[in-house]
């Protein structure tokens, strides 16, 4: 079972999206004024959408050590501070979501297995998945998904550290359905994609 730490900056309803199940034991790390969590004993660090990137910047060395120990980071938010090793998100929102389409890139771990990418493009006639900005990926990292203008939207980085980084351009993902839409098909596909990420994290845990 994956031992996951989820960062919480006190958003209402956040706990609903990451509830322990037979695959993952989620523990919450609440950000306080003296936030300095112990990451020892965790396999996976999850940074949900809407997180506190001031607090994360302050513990960037600890996160780097966590990754160098072969662990996994999921970041589903726009990190406007430079705490993610090797990769940087840019809050360029000059492109409108209404014009954005998503395309599969390098998917060596079959993360899109069973996922219909069209569900991410449309839901109720508007954008189905709300990525924002884009990622400047580390050299050698995989661009798993890109958009209309070839901007990296999802990046998988196994080169910068000994660990695994799975980063979205602020596109929300969680361990439940329906976090961005109440459209049934989108719910299923986003949930399936997250499930595939967990499968990869489990393999990483077993072979770390």
């Amino acid at each position: 079972m994956i031992r996951a730490a989820v960062i919480s900056n006190g958003l209402g309803g956040l706990h609903y999206y990451f509830q322990s199940n037979d695959r993952v034991d989620y523990r919450w790390l609440e950000i306080t004024s003296d936030f300095n969590p112990d990451l020892e004993g965790f396999d996976l660090l999850v940074v949900p959408n809407g997180c506190d990137h001031i607090a994360l910047y302050r513990i960037r060395d600890k996160i780097r050590s966590f990754l160098d120990a072969g662990k996994t980071l999921f970041c589903f938010d726009g990190w406007f501070t430079a705490w993610v090793p090797g990769n940087q998100w840019y809050m360029d929102n000059t492109r409108k979501t209404i014009d954005i389409r998503y395309f599969k890139g390098t998917d060596r771990y079959d993360l899109f297995s069973g996922v219909d990418i069209r569900s991410l493009n449309f839901s109720h006639g508007i954008s189905g998945w709300w990525a924002c900005g884009y990622i400047d990926p580390a050299p050698g990292a995989d661009v798993v998904m890109f958009d209309t203008w070839n901007r990296p939207m999802i990046v998988l980085d196994e080169t910068t550290t000994n660990g695994l980084l799975l980063l979205t351009a602020s596109g929300p993902l969680a361990d439940v359905t329906g976090q961005t839409t109440d459209d049934e098909s989108s719910e299923q596909d986003l949930a399936r994609f997250y499930s595939n990420l967990l499968e990869l994290a489990e393999k990483k845990r077993q072979y770390a």
């Binding site: 006190g10 209402g12 506190d52 990137h53 430079a82 929102n93 924002c132």
Partner: protein, 214 residues
């Protein structure tokens, strides 16, 4: 001299909004973990944006009510808890696609356009989507916006000294996200009401601010 404090939860849209040239001289980011009577001293108003740290707001509620007791204004958007507002907020599904599927039926059906924030706004500019609703509000509060089913979206009260206004709209966060293109109207009206200054021009985030080094 900054007139308005924006409670900052380390969220990128908060940062994008308050540091953009259009608003940077008016709004000052106040990190939630540094929200004290001292850090809000001298401000005309305080804004609590959507995606705020509800736990920490509960711990620091005295800062908000001390500011109100001094006759200042507080604007709260999005969700809240009864730990810091004398109101009951409940979650609801977000309908952000009504303008495509049912454009003549926006989530808000009643608006008091005599209120200074809403005066001069069109219906389209006064509602885009809502994050939940209030089912109970302070005993002396007045309702400013409602949904067709009667749920309360926006309310205001003067019972704490200054003016406390709360809404389940999210103008600050969405303006920072920059995907809803008409929000200059609402936010500029709100800013004027909060501090007496009406910003001009269009909200933009300069390219050099796309990623920062703290």
């Amino acid at each position: 001299m900054h007139k308005i404090g924006l409670v900052f939860n380390g969220v990128w849209s908060h940062y994008a909004f308050a540091t953009a040239p259009k608003y940077a001289d008016i709004y000052r980011l106040i990190y939630i973990h540094e929200l004290t009577d001292e850090t809000v001293d001298g401000l005309e108003a305080l804004v609590v944006p959507f995606q705020s740290n509800q736990t920490e707001l509960g711990r620091r509620r005295s800062v908000i009510y001390n500011l109100l007791a001094h006759g200042k204004k507080v604007f709260a958007e999005g969700d809240s808890t009864a730990d810091w507002l004398d109101a009951v907020w409940e979650d609801r599904p977000v309908n952000n696609y009504w303008w495509v599927t049912d454009p003549h039926n926006p989530p808000v059906s009643e608006t008091d356009f005599d209120h200074p924030v809403y005066n001069g706004l069109s219906k389209r500019h006064s509602c885009w989507h809502t994050h939940g609703a209030y089912v109970s509000i302070p005993d002396q509060a007045a309702v400013i916006q409602r949904k067709p089913d009667g749920d309360i979206i926006t309310w205001e009260t003067r019972q704490y000294g200054g003016v406390l206004m709360a809404t389940t709209l999210d103008p600050i966060v969405e303006h920072g996200v920059q995907q809803i293109t008409h929000l200059d109207h609402y936010v500029d009206s709100l800013t004027h009401w909060l501090c007496g200054i009406r910003p001009e021009g269009r909200f933009e985030v300069p390219k050099e601010r796309y990623g920062i080094r703290v």
